[in-house]
């Protein structure tokens, strides 16, 4: 009997040897006369266990990890193809607490299916949402998204339904759907995990968005730092086109929709929506002044839905299961789930999709297991390079957009970077300004010049020079950047700086307040 063996082809798994492990398993199983079918799935998101190998057994899939090439002969000797015990055995994958405690809605298929198999996708609930959408009017689709409470997952958390309604109501025959897959924030990898593990889910979400607003063309803007995701995405688009899901007659509905993937150029600022549109149009990725909003005048001057990848990939399940199903998860005005990403110095790093409302402490300790170094957690940067550093005394915070905003922090794209007590927060504050100086698009002065002046004044503070002058100067500069920048790059870089200064003054050579 042929045994199905799963070895992820996800970037993170490949980065720690999954490719070599897959080759070794295939070669050594063949040499022993064992018939196996090797499936290159996406990652389950248990990053610390990668490469995580799974074997299908009558009782369910059994996991082993982290597996190295050197472990393969021993695994075969022990009978892992029958799910036998071994020091690397983790039991049934679905029973691993880290996974079992999650609420996987958007990521239900990631790591489970063959990412490029349409048969697998359909067998696991794929296209159920699209079929519902094809039976609805555009207004009804938009109403479902609005009622679900879905907000933009890129960080700004703007209600998706309102954005879609604006585009639906905008005059014009030509409209676009644009997916922002320029996932530049350090500590975030959910876009990549979904693209490499379940690309048809994004395609389905974009198809639904196209039906909702009357667009016939979609663009996916992917960052160039994701070479594996780029290959998977293009292969998926090709297969969807061949299967008649994309093209002039989507699933025989008479409706047209096609998708083109575009590769970015390593510029962080292109994650800002108007800079992204400029980049697709073939220009430098410089921010546009708003208004006009992209929903009115977006790509090529036409009404455009531009959403983060996770926002669009969350739409299929909303249509398939109904707005109320999704809305019943979460707390306050944060409805549904967010795929949190545990990164940096954390013992059990990976992807945790949970309903909004669990506390930071639960995420960091119950899921993350504390630091990888075994030392105490000192600070967590939540929401990417523009997010505040949150100190341990704030770990009671519930993961909710409004609760975070109330304490001067933000959830952003759901990435958390954990630092232990060896971190120098003065240096991290300096890095925030240095990063802004490197990545500023140069359009507005507070960001372009302010970031460089910020590095200089932090250097003076760290060198102990005239704190009486330099501290008020830094705070004044930060205020100017927050109030005067065109977009979040300059407007939010002060958050990591000011939070580091407020919570960790000793690292700046100041007495504890």
């Amino acid at each position: 009997m042929t045994v199905r063996v799963f070895v992820p082809a996800d970037s993170s798994a490949l980065a720690v040897g999954a490719g070599e492990v897959a080759l070794a398993i295939a070669a050594q199983a063949a040499a022993r006369g064992s018939a196996i079918e090797l499936v290159r799935n996406g990652s389950r998101g248990l990053s610390w266990l990668e490469p995580l190998v799974e074997v299908a057994t009558p009782a369910g899939r059994v996991a082993y990890g982290p597996v190295t090439v050197a472990d393969v002969p021993g695994l075969l000797d022990a009978g892992f193809l029958a799910g036998a015990d071994h020091p690397l055995a983790l039991g049934l994958t679905d029973e691993i607490p880290y996974l079992k405690k999650q609420e996987r809605l958007t990521f239900a298929r990631v790591g489970v299916t063959d990412p490029l198999s349409l048969a697998d996708y359909t067998a696991h609930g794929g296209f159920a949402g699209l079929r519902v959408a094809l039976s609805l009017t555009p207004g009804e689709i938009v109403a479902a998204v609005t009622e679900s409470g879905l907000r933009g997952r890129g960080g700004a958390a703007f209600p998706a339904g309102i954005k879609w309604q604006t585009v639906l109501a905008a005059a014009g025959d030509e409209k676009y759907v644009v997916c922002n897959a320029d996932e530049g924030d350090s500590g975030t990898f959910s876009d990549r995990l979904l693209l490499e593990g379940d690309p048809f889910c994004l395609i389905e979400g974009m198809l639904i968005a196209g039906l909702a607003v009357g667009a016939r063309k979609g663009y996916i803007y992917l960052r160039s730092e994701y070479p594996h995701a780029w290959k998977t995405l293009n292969a998926a688009i090709l297969r969807a086109r061949e299967a008649g899901l994309l093209g002039d007659d989507v699933l025989g509905s008479g409706r047209a929709f096609d998708i083109e993937a575009r590769l970015g150029g390593g510029a962080y600022i292109c994650g800002e929506e108007t800079a992204l549109l400029e980049s697709i149009e073939g220009r430098r990725g410089q921010v546009r002044a708003k208004p006009p909003l992209p929903a009115i005048k977006g790509l090529f001057g036409k009404p455009t839905v531009i959403n983060n990848l996770i926002t669009l990939a969350s739409v299929p399940i909303i249509l398939a299961r109904g707005a109320a199903f999704y809305r019943d998860y979460g707390m306050g005005r944060s409805r549904g789930t967010l795929p949190f990403q545990l990164a940096g110095n954390v013992l059990c790093g990976g992807l945790v999709e949970k309903a909004f409302g669990l506390t930071l402490d639960e995420l960091l300790n119950d899921f993350g297991g504390g630091t990888a170094s075994g030392r105490p957690i000192r600070a967590v940067q939540v929401g990417g390079p523009l997010g505040a550093y949150v100190p341990a005394q704030d770990f009671d915070l519930p993961l909710d957009y409004e609760a975070f905003a109330a304490r001067g922090a933000m959830l952003g794209h759901g990435g958390l970077v954990v630092f232990d007590d060896t971190v120098d927060m003065g240096r991290m504050a300096r890095f925030a300004m240095e990063f802004c100086a490197a990545e500023s698009c140069g359009k507005c002065t507070p960001c372009r010049i302010g970031s460089t002046r910020g590095v200089e004044v932090i250097d003076r503070i760290l060198a102990g020079e005239d704190h009486g002058t330099n501290l008020p100067l830094l705070e004044d500069l930060c205020t100017l950047m927050i109030d005067g920048s065109l977009c979040a790059m300059g407007g939010m870089t002060p958050y990591p700086v000011l939070s580091a200064l407020k919570h960790f003054p000793a690292d700046f050579g100041l007495a504890d307040k």
């Binding site: 970037s11 993170s12 490949l14 980065a15 720690v16 990053s47 610390w48 990668e50 996932e183 530049g184 924030d185 350090s186 500590g187 975030t188 990898f189 876009d191 990549r192 160039s224 730092e225 994701y226 070479p227 594996h228 575009r262 590769l263 970015g264 150029g265 390593g266 510029a267 962080y268 980049s279 697709i280 149009e281 073939g282 220009r283 430098r284 990725g285 090529f300 990403q341 545990l342 990164a343 940096g344 110095n345 954390v346 790093g349 990976g350 990888a372 940067q381 390079p385 990435g415 970077v417 954990v418 630092f419 232990d420 971190v423 991290m428 890095f431 990063f435 490197a438 990545e439």
Partner: protein, 155 residues
């Protein structure tokens, strides 16, 4: 095929519109490893742009190189999540081992070193990229082994 013929072939493979610029530049760099200065003029002519506009785009995007790199381009992640896992120490080791800094090429022409801000491998850092491969959980000894493989062209 001469380089000029190659450039014309790559340009002609895309619709003659401004939004083809970035895809064409990617195709040039994929073929040559960089975007040579002689690409600017034919690109401007084909897409009806000024040479300044084309140059402006090439110089804006860090991914696009206007200087020919070494045989292998090694990108080291400098972002926060890798810093939390010890990338600063790794960076110091890499600089010392190669004897070069960022945006420089080793004297033997084998390695060009570039900074990168996040490869999306944030739970398995420190990370680096060589060509289209990402390498995770990199420490000094793993880097040294990788370097030997690159120098012998085994990677």
């Amino acid at each position: 095929m001469t380089r000029s013929e190659l450039l014309h072939r790559l340009i002609a493979a895309h619709p003659p519109r401004q939004d083809s610029l970035l895809p064409i530049l990617h195709s040039i760099q994929d073929e040559l490893g960089w975007v040579p200065p002689e690409a600017t003029e034919p690109l401007a002519r084909a897409l009806n742009l000024s040479r300044a506009e084309v140059h402006g785009v090439i110089s804006f995007y860090p991914h696009l190189r206007s200087v020919q790199p070494g045989r292998h381009v090694l990108q080291l992640c400098r972002a926060e999540a890798c810093q939390a896992r010890g990338s600063a120490a790794l960076e110091a080791h890499v600089r010392a081992r190669l004897g070069i800094g960022f945006h420089e090429t080793s004297a033997d022409g084998v390695i060009s070193l570039e900074p990168v801000y996040c490869l999306g491998n944030c739970a398995c850092g420190p990370s680096l990229r060589v060509g289209d491969e990402i390498v995770g959980r990199v420490d000094a000894s793993r880097f040294d082994a990788l370097l030997v493989a690159l120098q012998e062209d085994l990677a």
